[in-house]
Each structure stands twice: as structure tokens, then as C-alpha cells.
């Protein structure tokens, strides 16, 4: 459904994307992972036909996204990463404008989405919070029943409850055989919905993997509070990878081998387990490093 081949765009400051290549199959939910500034949005901007590729090409539904951009866009639902609507309108007017441009007259789907996302569409846009604008954006993206969804950091600004609603929405559309490309800087955000994911770093694709494989590869840190110092010492004596010990609080690094962790922990008294939030680079640190030495 989406083919990106050798896409290259170098900006004057030396950054950009280099030889980006991957494919998204029909009916697949594809994650596009990378830290901020890695080139996710630049790649997506090529898919929307905003920039002419210096080299390579992107194709959606058989149409080149630069040369036949309006045809490529016709079946795409796009949610930009930076939301900025036009001033002087309310949400409903904006939705109507977009519906008109999408050539969509049916209001059923639109109203259903507004109902689910629970917001007042007649609020003037300049008075909307970031989360509310994101909801308007989601309505606009989903209301015309597109074949392909391109979502740039879709859950930013949504509260956990609405993130859940959003994920349900994605899964429903996936069940209908729709294709998704979803960018994110957090693995946790996409692992619930995606089948596969590409990781991009400094403008280059580092890997394209199944989500299950990525889940296995990720490096997690657990902060475990033990009952006393003796227990902490016993853990230290085991062959778990200890990142840090502070009194009876131990930080343990786990990569795939959860059984070993459980085995060792069962020998001591645990009072609390906390998983530590990490950036994408930290989660896939080993992988990133390994890849670099190979180069």
C-alpha cells in the first residue's frame, strides 16, 4: 500500500533523511519510531507531497506522492504532528470545510466520531486546548473513511482515557482492512496497535522488525524495592544486570529474559516493583550500539 524507496532529502544544515526504504502492506499497522528530530516528520511530509524528494520516491496506492500527489492523497487520512487550524473559525466550521474538500457529504460518521471523542465542536478554535484540537484533527482524519491512515504522533495531547478511545478506533479500522502508518517517539505508545515498526535514527532506518521481536529486544529497567539490605546483597550476587543500588532499592536491567528475573526475585522479599520510563534510545540502546559497531 505504501512503498518508500531510497528516499533522500538533505537540508542545508546537513540533517535530513537518507536512503529511507520500507514498505507497508495493505491491512497492516506500521509504527515509525524515532527520537525527536530523527526524520519521521520529514518522511511523512514526502508521503503527503509537500517536498520533492532529492532522490528516491514514495508511492501510495500506486501513485507517486510527488508527481501525482493529489491522487495519492485522495485515499489518505492525514493527522499532522503540529496542529494549527485556521484562525477565526470554530471546530465545526473547520470540520465542514475539510469534509467539503474531501468531497464527503455524509455526516453520520462525523457525528459518531464527535460523540465518541466527547467534545463540543462549536468551540472557537483559538479557545481550544491542545487535546481538543487533537480531537478535531482526529475527526477530520477518520471521517472520510480513507484506505490509508498517516498519523504523525497521534496521541500527543490526549489524556489516557482518550488515548484508549483512539487505540480502539485504530483497531476497528484495522479490522476493516485499513492500512496505518503511525509515527511516535515512544515504543509503549505503538506496541499496543502495531504489527511491525521501523526505527529511524539521524535520518536513517536502523531496523524494520515485527513488534514481538522489538518487544523482546527492548531493554527495560525495573526499580525493585526489597525488604532489607541483605536481600539487596543477594540480588547483587546473582547474575542479573544491576544498573544501580541505592540502599534496598535495586535497578535491574532486563532484556528479554524475564524468567531469570522472576526466578531471582522469588528468592527475596520484594515490597515494590516499578518500571522506569525511558527514552527510545535507552530502550533500544544495545541495539543502536550494536548496529553502529557493525557499520
Amino acid at each position: 500500500m505504501i512503498q518508500i524507496h531510497g528516499l533522500t532529502q538533505q537540508f542545508s544544515n546537513g540533517r535530513g533523511i537518507f536512503d529511507v526504504t520500507f514498505e507497508v502492506e495493505k491491512g497492516e499497522v506500521f509504527g515509525f519510531l524515532g527520537p525527536n528530530g530523527a526524520g519521521k516528520s520529514t518522511t511523512i511530509r514526502h508521503l503527503m507531497g509537500y517536498i520533492k524528494p532529492q532522490e528516491g520516491a514514495a508511492v501510495i496506492h500506486g501513485f507517486n506522492t510527488w508527481e501525482q500527489q493529489e491522487k495519492a492523497r485522495a485515499k489518505v487520512g492525514y493527522l499532522p504532528g503540529e496542529i494549527s487550524f485556521m484562525d477565526g473559525m470554530n471546530g465545526l466550521e473547520f470540520i465542514q470545510l475539510m469534509a467539503g474538500m474531501q468531497g464527503r457529504k455524509d455526516k453520520k460518521r462525523r457525528n459518531e466520531l464527535i460523540e465518541r471523542l466527547q467534545f463540543e465542536p462549536k468551540t472557537p478554535i483559538r479557545k481550544m486546548s491542545k487535546g481538543m484540537k487533537q480531537k478535531v484533527g482526529i475527526v477530520v482524519t477518520f471521517m472520510h473513511n480513507p484506505e490509508v491512515y498517516i498519523l504523525d504522533e497521534p496521541t500527543s495531547g490526549l489524556d489516557p482515557l482518550m488515548q484508549k478511545v483512539f487505540i480502539d478506533l485504530v483497531l476497528e479500522e484495522k479490522a476493516k482492512g485499513k492500512t496505518f502508518l503511525m509515527s511516535s517517539h515512544s515504543f509503549a505508545e505503538i506496541e499496543r496497535t502495531c504489527d511491525r515498526a521501523a526505527i529511524i535514527k539521524d535520518g536513517r532506518i536502523v531496523t524494520v522488525q515485527n513488534i514481538n521481536d522489538l518487544q523482546f529486544m527492548q531493554r527495560k529497567i525495573y526499580e525493585i524495592t526489597l525488604e532489607n539490605k541483605n536481600d539487596a546483597e543477594r540480588i547483587q550476587a546473582s547474575n542479573l544486570i544491576i544498573e544501580d543500588i541505592n540502599g534496598n532499592v535495586v535497578r535491574i536491567v532486563v532484556q528479554g529474559d524475564y524468567n531469570k528475573l522472576i526466578e531471582e526475585l522469588s528468592k527475596v522479599n520484594v515490597t515494590n516493583i516499578n518500571s522506569v520510563n525511558q527514552s527510545l534510545e535507552d530502550v533500544f540502546m544495545n541495539y543502536y550500539d550494536a548496529k553502529e559497531t557493525v557499520k
Binding site: M48, Y50, I51, R73, A74, V76, M86, G100, M101, V140
Partner: protein
């Protein structure tokens, strides 16, 4: 041309259109209401005009103050009308493309099957519609005020007044056109506003300079403003067919160029 976009854009800009339109119309009415004062004191006014240097008279069109047509074309259409419509053209042209690109809202407009050319064309059409509305209101205001306030003997022929407005519209069709072209080239709203504003100011200034000094007469060849001579149209000395055709051609060219530029360039969205 996309109807939904056009409708929403006109709705967004209507307040501006009406403000400028009624502002311009009100000014014509105001100036017209002043004319009887001049007409009753023609001699005194003529004495006064004699003091004014010849060159200034040319620039301000003072030599034709003795008739209503001469008065209104010199005092309004030669002076404030270009300023009001110039400001409007530069502002609105920037608002319709560069502003949306700069703010990023263009990303939404460009997320559907509507092509870039269609969007640029629609936005250009919004600008032209605005100009047309403003000039129409000015025209109607002038006609109404002329009927109500000016004695039959001084009054300006309907057709002549129409010509003054028509060529005036064409001039700002061109000013709007190059401003729109600038707007289509700019990623930054302020650059667009500054460039189009400076161009307009220079073109207006060149025309003025050329009128004031015979040495700089040639300057008038490089500005579209010299193709619009309301005073001469009022006195019946102007040939309007060729200038109108040139203005129309320049306008069409600049709008078309803007659409082509917008279609092919990289957008920072």
C-alpha cells in the same frame, strides 16, 4: 477552484472586505459632500491653486479641481483609493497563502484530493472577489452621493465614473496579482508582507516622482500605477482601452505565475 474552500475563505475574510469596502465608499461620500463648498468658491480655490507649484499640481491633479469629476478623481481616486486598496491587496494576498504556509494550516488544506493548483487558484479568486466587492461598494457610494449631493450642472457622467472605477479595479487586480505571487513564494508571512508592501510603495512612489518632475517622467514607464489616470478619465482625455488591456494581461500573468510557483515548490509544512 474548490467551492468549499472558497466559501469558507470568503466567510473568514468578509469582515475585512466589508470594512475596506464601506470605508472606501464612506470616503467617496465624504469627499463628494465637500465638493459643493469648493464649487461655491471656485474663484478663491483657483487663486489658491495658482500659488501651488506647477509640478505639485500635476502630481496631485489640482488642475482639474473645477469640476466634480476632476475633484473626486484627484482627491479620492488619485490619492486615498490607491492607498486603501494597496494596503488591502498586500495584506489579503499574504493572508491567503504565505500566512497559511507559515502557520502550518496549509498542511490541512493539502491533505485532501484537492490539488495545489486548485487551492492557489481558489485563494487567488478570493482576493479578486474581495477587490471587486470593495470597488463595487466604492462605485455605488460615489453614484449615490453624486445623485444626492451634487447639482446637475457639475455632475459626473455615470459612464465616466464607471470607467474610473473599472480601471482602478484593474490596477489593483495587478497589485493583488504580484502580491499574490510574492505570497506564493514566501515561507514566512512577514517576508511576504514586507516584500509586497515595499514593491507597492515603490511603484506608487515612482508614479508620483514621474508626475512631479519632467526629468523623471520615464520612471512612469516601469510602474503599473501610471496606467491609471483618474483625472484624465474624468476630463475625457484618457484612452482607457489599451491601458486596461495591459493591466488585465499583467494581472492574469501574475496570478497564473503564482499558481505555477505554488504547485512546484517545496513547502515547509
Amino acid at each position: 477552484m474548490n467551492i468549499s474552500l472558497f466559501r469558507q475563505m470568503v466567510k473568514l475574510n468578509m469582515k475585512n472586505f466589508l470594512c475596506f469596502g464601506f470605508g472606501s465608499a464612506l470616503y467617496v461620500v465624504l469627499m463628494t459632500s465637500l465638493y459643493p463648498l469648493f464649487a461655491d468658491n471656485t474663484e478663491a480655490v483657483n487663486e489658491l491653486i495658482k500659488i501651488v507649484p506647477e509640478t505639485m499640481k500635476n502630481a496631485l491633479g489640482f488642475d482639474s479641481l473645477t469640476s466634480y469629476g476632476g475633484f473626486i478623481s484627484a482627491e479620492y481616486f488619485g490619492l486615498f483609493f490607491p492607498i486603501i486598496l494597496g494596503v488591502f491587496s498586500v495584506m489579503t494576498a499574504t493572508q491567503l497563502l504565505a500566512h497559511l504556509v507559515d502557520k502550518g494550516s496549509m498542511a490541512y488544506l493539502l491533505s485532501t484530493k484537492v490539488s495545489r493548483s486548485q487551492i492557489a487558484f481558489t485563494q487567488g479568486f478570493v482576493l479578486i472577489s474581495g477587490l471587486l466587492l470593495i470597488v463595487s461598494l466604492t462605485f455605488l457610494g460615489g453614484i449615490a452621493a453624486g445623485e444626492a449631493l451634487i447639482d446637475e450642472q457639475y455632475s459626473l457622467e455615470f459612464y465616466t465614473f464607471f470607467q474610473i472605477n473599472f480601471v482602478g479595479f484593474l490596477l489593483f487586480f495587478v497589485v493583488g496579482g504580484y502580491s499574490f505571487l510574492v505570497s506564493s513564494l514566501c515561507n514566512d508571512e512577514k517576508t511576504s508582507l514586507g516584500t509586497a508592501g515595499a514593491l507597492t510603495f515603490i511603484f506608487y512612489g515612482l508614479d508620483m516622482a514621474g508626475k512631479i518632475s519632467p526629468d523623471f517622467e520615464w520612471l512612469r514607464n516601469i510602474t503599473p500605477f501610471s496606467l491609471y489616470n483618474p483625472s484624465e478619465i474624468a476630463s475625457g482625455d484618457a484612452e482607457i482601452f489599451v491601458p486596461s488591456l495591459i493591466l488585465f494581461g499583467m494581472g492574469c500573468f501574475t496570478y497564473a505565475a503564482a499558481v505555477v510557483v505554488f504547485k512546484h515548490r517545496n513547502l515547509p509544512l
